[in-house]
């Protein structure tokens, strides 16, 4: 066995660069794969588990001003197992000068361990939340002091809020603002994610009583205010559970509860367990999806580079192998040496990547707390790991078997005698641009060796283009998501809640900031479509709907989203029964439109259409304004919010959007960083082999009078040409297929259509970044030319 030890030692010494490169690539790829799978699996399990533990129903209905009898009515509906009522107060709020678009939900929380009055058990509707400190670490369950509030960590990214800041809750129009000091954070499994604009706040019993008193004591009696008023309202979450024996589907169950009770009259919004889970996991799933897709690209690159490197190593060592064969070693035993080295290195990279994925996942989970709102408890995905590792072993095994197969076929004498090298294509050699012509000729002479570089560039540019397109679509301020989630484009929305609101004056002020170019009205009302609870987006001008297929709707028609179409099996031309406020009317589906709000669970109606089933004269209308200069919208919003009460002013954004945009931009940055690392490794491995293959010619050029700089430039230009070709292929592939690919993924999140255009981040940047990174790394790598004399280079070639 001594001979094997010597041979392995010699091979490892000779191929140290390739081996180190392969190890790094496998390590990074496996680390990315396992981190993505671990965070995905742990997140899903943890959030679903927390929803279960905290008592989210098969579906949960948020109600306001709802009589107690409704809960009893629901209990009597066929198929209902039980109902849990979680009381809350709806109230608008302001943090650090920013107003929320949605009401906050103030929930009473008691530390039962510190409160002996209830013997440590929780009363109906109370749930045991988990608490976090500002750094995202769990802290013991606190006793909530009077005047303090606990919030979701996701508000940190939306409102830049921290412990010690105060939150102003609007309870009544006159003298009805109460401030509570942020004392800490808690995990809200129902609406904690920054993807959900609804946010809950934990307060103590004493504060709840005081807040309700303030609201009830207001002159107009705001506690019983009209639906849609932003001022305080008594409300609750109805967590409704299916009977264990029920055979109803989720949709049928929801329909049954809503149609057999008066619940729709008091409903603010309704979400099924899967919908909330999807919302809660949306950001981490996007992140994991990116990471997993990127890992797949990295793994493919890893195989390309390793395959090329192994072929080159075998080609270079062919004569040595032949000599070993003449000494009596079999092809299988020589192959075993290579199999052992490369298999061992792959295994080491896989093991290290797998092990390190745990701390990396934990760090990632902690870093995502301000976006996901929850500190995901990371658990090793045992079964998934088993499947992935088996897959990797099979892949690496098959790869090595195929790649080392050539060793068996080496005939000793033939290999010792034969020369190597490809016959170059005839390309121009001219005096002008001589360095370029030399680069082209050498490239053509060794074109087979550059194929892997071309493929890697194509793959990286394709993937970065896809990511870049999504980034460009998202926009610097999240405009893409704003448009996808909003019913219709607008810069500013103002919704008055009483007759005293001076709308003409408000419009004059908006005009002062920037001329109003267009205006229309929007109402968002709860309705049922064929018995299925959804939101009707009603527009005064239906031309503002983002229609994807078919036509805009008139008074007898409705628009539906892809989500509704799939959920209810509807097509354009179908007739649907829409109910609201106790009235039912039939409408024809005129088209499919885009609005991802509620994960796409909504329909579009005209004002004339909605008037058949609802009252269009209440304070349901929000006036939308499109400004000549949209950049002033935040200033206008702030001024109006500070100056007028009884109105809701918002832009086409939501509080958590900043966090989402930051996260997405961060992800894109990390992906570029990992891509740069991979390019560096790929260059080191590929350039090393190419350098060796071309050493002789370069030495000859040098002996003829070309300088080191000329040769380095020529060597780098070869990569530049190949990478540019690969990058072009990648860019074209992205142009042809990225939109449809992303579109299919986006549909899963209720975004019906994705279209991108040629942009800096989606097209130019990936091409330029990959090409220049390759060029730069090759330029640096080729610096070794300076350190070697011509004679040394020539003698290397002779070897």
């Amino acid at each position: 066995m001594n001979q094997y030890r010597i041979l392995i030692h010699a091979a490892v010494k000779k191929q140290a660069g390739s081996i180190a490169g392969l190890f790094l690539m496998v390590f990074v790829s496996v680390l990315c794969i396992f981190t993505a799978v671990t965070v995905y699996g742990s997140g899903k399990r943890f959030v679903a588990g927390e929803m279960e533990r905290l008592g989210f129903g098969d579906f949960t209905v948020w109600v306001a001003d709802c009589p107690n009898r409704i809960a009893s009515e629901i209990k009597n509906v066929r198929g209902v197992g039980h109902i849990s009522v979680q009381p809350l107060i709806f109230a608008g709020y302001e943090i650090n000068g920013r107003y929320s678009d949605n009401d906050g939900q103030l929930i009473v929380y008691r530390n039962n361990h510190a409160d002996d009055s209830n013997n440590g058990s929780r009363i109906e509707g109370e749930v045991a939340y988990r608490f976090l400190d500002g750094e995202g670490n769990y802290v013991p369950e606190p006793v909530i002091e009077k005047g303090t509030v606990y919030i979701s960590p996701a508000l940190q990214s939306g409102f830049d809020v921290e412990v010690g800041d105060s939150i102003q809750f609007e309870l009544a129009r006159s003298n009805g603002i109460r401030s509570l000091i942020v004392a800490g954070y808690f995990e809200d499994a129902f609406m904690g994610s920054s993807m959900i604009d609804m946010k809950s706040f934990l307060i103590c019993e004493a504060d709840r009583e005081e807040l309700l008193q303030v609201a009830e004591a207001s002159p107009e009696g705001d506690a019983q205010s009209v639906k849609g008023d932003t001022l305080a309202r008594d409300g609750a979450m109805f967590h409704i559970f299916k009977d264990g024996a029920s055979t109803l589907s989720d949709v049928e169950f929801q329909k049954a509860v809503l149609s057999d009770t008066e619940l729709p009259l008091y409903t603010e919004f309704t979400y099924g367990r899967d919908s909330i889970l999807s919302y809660m996991l949306l950001l981490q799933n996007i992140l994991c999806g990116f990471l997993l897709a990127f890992s797949a690209v990295l793994l493919v690159i890893c195989f390309i580079v390793a395959g090329k490197s192994l072929s080159d190593v075998i080609e270079q060592d062919k004569k040595d192998m032949a000599v070993l064969k003449t000494m009596g070693l079999t092809g299988s035993s020589i192959r075993g040496i290579y199999f052992g080295i490369y298999g061992g290195v792959s295994a080491a990279g896989t093991i290290l990547g797998t092990l390190l994925s745990m701390p990396v996942s934990k760090a990632l989970a902690k870093g995502m707390v301000t976006s996901t709102g929850m500190l995901i408890r990371i658990a090793f995905p045992f079964y998934a790991a088993l499947i992935i590792l088996t897959g990797l072993i099979v892949l690496f095994g098959a790869f090595l078997v195929i790649r080392t197969g050539g060793i068996i076929r080496i005939a000793p004498i033939q290999a010792i005698r034969e020369g190597s090298g490809e016959k170059p294509a005839h390309t121009k050699i001219g005096k002008r641009f001589l360095i370029l012509w030399i680069a082209v000729r050498e490239l053509m002479a060794h074109k087979g060796k550059y194929v892997s570089v071309c493929l890697i560039a194509a793959l990286l540019v394709f993937f970065l283009s896809v990511i870049g397109r999504m980034g460009a679509w998202l926009g610097m301020n999240g405009e893409g998501l704003m448009n996808a989630f909003s019913v219709a484009d607008h810069d500013l929305g103002v919704q008055p809640f009483h007759d005293d609101v001076p709308m003409e004056e408000i419009e004059r002020i908006i005009n002062w900031y920037s001329p109003i170019e267009e205006t229309y009205e929007l109402a968002m009302e709860s309705v049922t479509v064929n018995g299925f609870e959804t939101t009707a987006n009603v527009l005064s001008d239906t031309d503002y709907f983002h229609v994807l297929e078919g036509e805009v709707c008139d008074g007898k028609e409705v628009l539906i989203t892809h989500t509704i179409a799939n959920e209810l099996g509807l097509e354009i031309g179908d007739t649907v029964g829409i109910a609201g406020n106790g009235r039912v009317e039939n409408y024809t589906v005129s088209g499919i439109y885009q609005c991802a709000n509620g994960m796409g669970n909504n329909i579009g109606m005209s004002m004339a259409g909605y008037s058949k089933i609802g009252n269009i004269n209440g304070f349901i209308w929000c006036y939308h304004y499109i400004l000549k200069d949209g950049t002033v919208r935040d200033y206008a919003m702030k001024y109006l919010q500070d100056s007028y009460k009884g109105i809701d002013v918002h832009t086409n954004s939501w509080s958590g959007l900043d966090g989402i945009v930051s996260l997405m931009h961060g992800v894109i940055g990390v992906i570029y960083l990992v891509a740069a690392v991979f390019i560096f490794i790929a260059v080191s491995m590929s350039a090393d082999k190419l350098f060796k293959a071309e050493t002789g010619n370069m030495a000859v050029y040098k002996s003829m009078g070309l300088s080191d700089k000329d040769l380095r430039l020529s060597f780098s230009i070869r990569f530049l040409l190949v990478v540019a070709a690969g990058a072009f292929i990648g860019s074209m592939a992205a142009i042809l297929s990225a939109d449809s690919m992303i579109g299919r993924i986006f549909r899963m999140f209720g975004i019906g259509q994705f279209t991108s255009r040629i942009s800096l981040t989606g097209t130019v940047l990936p091409f330029a970044a990959v090409t220049l990174l390759f060029f730069g790394f090759v330029w640096l790598f080729s610096a070794r030319l300076k350190q070697v004399s011509i004679i040394k280079l020539l003698s290397e070639n002779d070897d």
Partner: protein
């Protein structure tokens, strides 16, 4: 009085702890056909590489036309190799991806002496003179050893160098090709080309008019001969005796 082209002052070249050249002083004159002889390992190739700026020296100076080339920058050295020096290797070392013709013409381009047209014309003439007509489009791997070496000589002289260096240029050739290549060197020298040739072949050495003998990194002998003019028994005997005295 011969014009001094190149001189070496106390040049040393060490490889690790081994000293291959031990403080050599010598001069190369214009128009000479200088032959460096010596047994294997005597340092003759190392001397040639150091003289031609192909390799560095450990200490001492190599002065070319008044300039110490050991102190030149890499760019200046490259310029020197491109325009002032020509080099012929024992193993040809042609660019494997270029045809024989391209190997010749590209050296002209690099030297940048003349327009592209002029360089091509010169290359065409050299192809004819080196008896490469018909073989010029072959790749080095497709050419015979003699063709490749003749192309290497043409490549070395296309830039009209001041000195043509040759390291065992016939070492890898058969007898017929050896003769052909040596005749080319002699013809070039007759036309005024200064040649410095390293060899351990007496036939090759006979072409020179100045023979240096190297032993353990030191010049231990120098022989002046009349210029080569075909087969001359007297010159041959003179060289043989001189070599015998050195234990050849």
């Amino acid at each position: 009085m011969k014009e001094l082209l190149l001189s070496r002052e106390k040049v040393k070249r060490n490889f690790g702890e081994n000293s291959v050249l031990q403080g050599i002083d010598l001069s190369i004159y214009a128009g000479d056909f200088t032959v460096v002889m010596g047994s294997s390992g005597s340092g003759k190739s190392t001397l040639l590489y150091a003289l031609s700026g192909m390799d560095t020296v450990s200490s001492g100076k190599v002065v070319y036309q008044g300039r110490d080339i050991t102190a030149l920058s890499e760019k200046e050295l490259a310029h020197l190799r491109a325009g002032e020096f020509g080099f012929v290797f024992q193993r040809m070392h042609l660019v494997s991806s270029l045809s024989l013709y391209e190997n010749i013409v590209i050296a002209g381009y690099i030297s940048n002496k003349g327009t592209e047209e002029e360089i091509r014309e010169k290359a065409d003439k050299l192809v004819e003179r080196m008896n490469l007509s018909g073989a010029e489009k072959r790749l080095p791997s497709e050419a015979s050893g003699g063709e490749a070496q003749r192309a290497a000589i043409a490549r070395a002289v296309i830039s009209s160098p001041q000195i043509l260096f040759a390291d065992e240029p016939t070492g890898a050739l058969n007898k017929a090709n050896t003769l052909e290549v040596l005749d080319l060197f002699s013809a070039l020298n007759r036309e005024g080309q200064s040649v410095v040739l390293v060899t351990h072949d007496k036939e090759a050495a006979l072409r020179g008019n100045r023979i240096l003998y190297l032993e353990d990194g030191m010049v231990v002998g120098e022989l002046e001969l009349t210029p080569y003019d075909g087969k001359d028994r007297k010159r041959e005997e003179q060289l043989n005796r001189w070599l015998e005295d050195r234990g050849w």
